[in-house]
Symmetry: C2
Subunit: 488 residues, 2 copies
């Protein structure tokens, strides 16, 4: 650890806080403390006691903003960039709350500017002053610096630029470094906000958070798109959804949710597919019909927008995000939606029972143009396109009581009412030519009684992508997994 | 759907709320709504608009508790048990907030008691009254009932009993049903509280929640205990910890956390091992030393106890839980701890560089007996028992700046300071005879600068187990995965 001192004082600028300071008010009798000395025979028990959080002398940006001008402060951070203007230089620190401008003036700071390297972690001591042109309106006049850690090489990409103008491929290859760019990391703060909103909102609505296994003996919904693994010489699979488990748990907690990874061995190589993604799932009992689910999702989206406005304003500004309209979300039947876009955009309906990605885009466009809507619920998907557990519409069993939610023309949610009657579930399984084998536990929940229920799953990365205006889901995935990418 | 009516009224007791009621105040011009009718040619666009949450007529227990006696109420739930006392019968509903006693009196309720089955989902209409002896001090005099769903068979285990006296094996085999027992499900509400506390506390402390991939090309810490899978003809593994990723993300957000599944292909078949479990991980930059991490965990444990006391009182009472002491947590060196228990319990030290489970138990016992402590930090584990990235103690490189946290003598946390200097990391890798291959991305984070940092991982199921006083980690895992169990 190098240390640059201001004056001729022998005291280090940055002293590691005394370990004893965390002892608090209480000391066990006959106990003394030692960090790294070994106990010698005959000593009393050497022990420390933790009583809670440590007070730190270093400050974060939000703390600095409440401090008085002229105060001597200590701050740590990574040197994001150094702009040398001659007699004065700006040393911009990257801290978790944002950027902090520190001012180096030769002679005031008693060390050479050359001693500082971009990407070094430092502890700076200086004087706080206000500057409207600096980020957050504050800056620190540097007095002394302690280098905590230094890089071994210079940055391979210009992470301190506002827009890096680096290809997605390069950004993904250099992920741990590329994410240090302010705009890149802001996307994942927004993503954090989305998940927080999902959980907090559902918690308020009486949902219980559950954790279901990701390794299982059979895929929840069957099909070929399942990753297989050897589980102590037994064939096993990775969960492609928590579907069976969340339904089973409705019988326990009435309302449950989970925000966890799901795995899809799909060979899609598109801008909107990942082979591992985060699914925001909920399942609720005692619904009157599937629109209860749409209403719950609407409530979540409204809460999400509110939370982002309130607590993620900084990131919304960094990314220049205009939040979507969530006050009124149109709800349109699948067949109706197909006809609407076929009519308006002069497009022949090729397959009445399937929705092509292009049609989804046009549905989004239609409702944006006609009603200024950013989200649309498309309801009553054909039964043949939905899994066996989907409840058919009793009024027309070609369709189901299900829906997708589109955000700017992209499916971000799939949901619907499920069959809750044991015998009806068995009938549907038989009608599909499926086997009950491996579904015994799932079916047992129904055998012993299940309330009417339904649920949905939201693709977190897609929702984030659309929120921040990206067009590739890899842009809003920390470490994406796709057909060609297992690293980093 | 069967419906039992009270009087001779033609109106159904329970009418599905009109879909139109969710239209709110706003209607798009020229739009009308239809649920299941197909659009006829020439009709205008049939569409509904969702404006938020639906208001429900049915009430939850907390709402009922604020209502006036004598009020006519509607409630739904599963029939947990029926106790027929002759002229009066108690129909106990299981709702998400607890049990609700409903009273059936022949003649007042105009249907036969025989029409009700245990495990059916029902909607009950009745009159609210106070009764100190009933759960939550309230009960509902039943007027009419609507059966929403019925079981196909009677319960295979007595879930309505306070203690089921059923073997763990049976409970796990019948998991979706066994969890409906009030005590069983209470454990998982406590678990929810633990995770909420972890996230909320760390969020307040400036940590960012991250989501790291569970499929990767190489295990974070190497070793044989890794599940392998085929990833589109490329060998891949399941993450045994988010270690590498959370460290890389310290370079981005300074402080990060994740609560997610991890996978260990260990062939342990003990009461405290699972092959898939939830790891509560955090990693923080700019630490002064590893005791910052212990202090942060102490802060979390204190917050957790506070949250459980405040919001999970009901479950604590159901499970008769006495929360652990978290005001003062002793912190003792590994070698010191070994000598303490060897001395007090007359036990020879077999291996000075390893801690046996029996020794952990005795350390727990020692600190409980001597200091009434429920948690203990055991620090300075031998370097050879810690992974390569652990920082050795400069004062004695046989040991590391690391720790475990024991709860009643069981390891629930492993953590420590990590090497942050690129060259030192390379040296340690070389000294261990390891290869850098497959670690390029991880190492790149250090090459381009990383602050001093450290972190820890807490086993959620173990922590919950100890909190609720169970002795097998499967008791506090919704759907455990072990050597012999992949189902349900």
């Amino acid at each position: 650890m190098m240390s640059f001192n201001m004056g001729g004082t022998a005291e280090p600028v940055y002293s590691v806080p005394e370990y004893e300071s965390i002892l608090g008010l209480f000391l066990f009798p006959d106990l003394s403390f030692t960090t790294s000395q070994r106990k010698s025979k005959g000593d009393s028990v050497k022990m420390d006691v933790l009583t809670g959080m440590k007070q730190k002398e270093t400050m974060e940006i939000s703390q600095l903003m409440t401090e008085m001008e002229g105060k001597t402060v200590q701050i740590n951070g990574a040197i994001h960039t150094i702009r040398d203007m001659g007699t004065v230089a700006f040393v911009v620190l990257r801290k978790r709350e944002g950027l902090l401008q520190c001012v180096y003036v030769k002679g005031i700071a008693e060390f050479e500017l050359e001693d500082l390297k971009e990407a070094a972690s430092v502890l700076i001591k200086g004087t706080l002053s206000k500057n409207e042109k600096a980020p957050n309106g504050i800056e620190v006049m540097i007095e002394s610096v302690t280098i905590l850690s230094e890089p071994a090489e210079t940055m391979p990409i210009p992470i301190s630029k506002w827009k890096m103008n680096t290809s997605l491929e390069t950004k993904l290859n250099l992920r741990p470094v590329a994410l240090r760019n302010i705009r890149e990391r802001a996307k994942f703060k927004i993503q954090e906000g989305v998940v927080r909103a999902f959980r907090d909102f559902l918690h308020q609505q009486g949902f219980t958070e559950i954790r279901t296994p990701k390794i299982g003996s059979k895929g929840a919904e069957g099909g070929a798109n399942i990753f297989k693994l050897d589980y102590f010489h037994t064939p096993a699979v990775l969960a492609q959804s928590p579907q069976f488990y969340k339904q089973m748990m409705v019988g326990v907690f009435d309302r449950v949710f989970e925000a966890a990874p799901v795995f899809r061995a799909e060979k899609h190589n598109t801008k909107r597919h990942l082979n591992e993604y985060t699914s925001l799932d909920f399942e609720m009992g005692y619904i009157d019909d599937f629109t209860d689910l749409c209403a719950m999702e609407t409530g979540f989206l409204q809460y999400m927008v509110m939370l982002l406005e309130k607590e993620y304003e900084k990131e919304l500004i960094i990314l220049d995000v205009t939040l979507p309209r969530v006050d009124k979300i149109p709800c349109v039947r699948f067949d109706e939606a197909k006809e609407l876009v076929a009519g308006k955009y002069k497009r022949a309906i090729k397959n009445p029972y399937d929705l092509e990605p292009e049609e989804e885009v046009l549905i989004g466009q239609y409702f944006k143009e006609e009603y200024d809507a950013d989200f649309v619920f498309v309801t009553h998907y054909p039964s043949k396109k939905r899994p066996f557990y989907a409840m058919d519409d009793p009024a027309d069993t070609i369709y189901t009581l299900s829906f997708d939610c589109l955000f700017h023309g992209m499916e971000i949610t799939t949901g619907g009412q499920r069959i809750h009657d044991y015998h009806k579930l068995l009938e549907k399984i038989a009608a599909r030519g499926m086997t009950e084998e491996g579904m015994e536990a799932y079916l047992s929940a129904f055998k012993y009684g299940m309330p009417p229920h339904g649920g949905l799953g939201i693709g977190l990365e897609r929702l984030t992508m659309k929120l921040v205006g990206e067009d590739n889901v890899r842009e809003t995935t920390l470490f994406p997994r796709d057909l060609g990418r297992l690293e980093p």
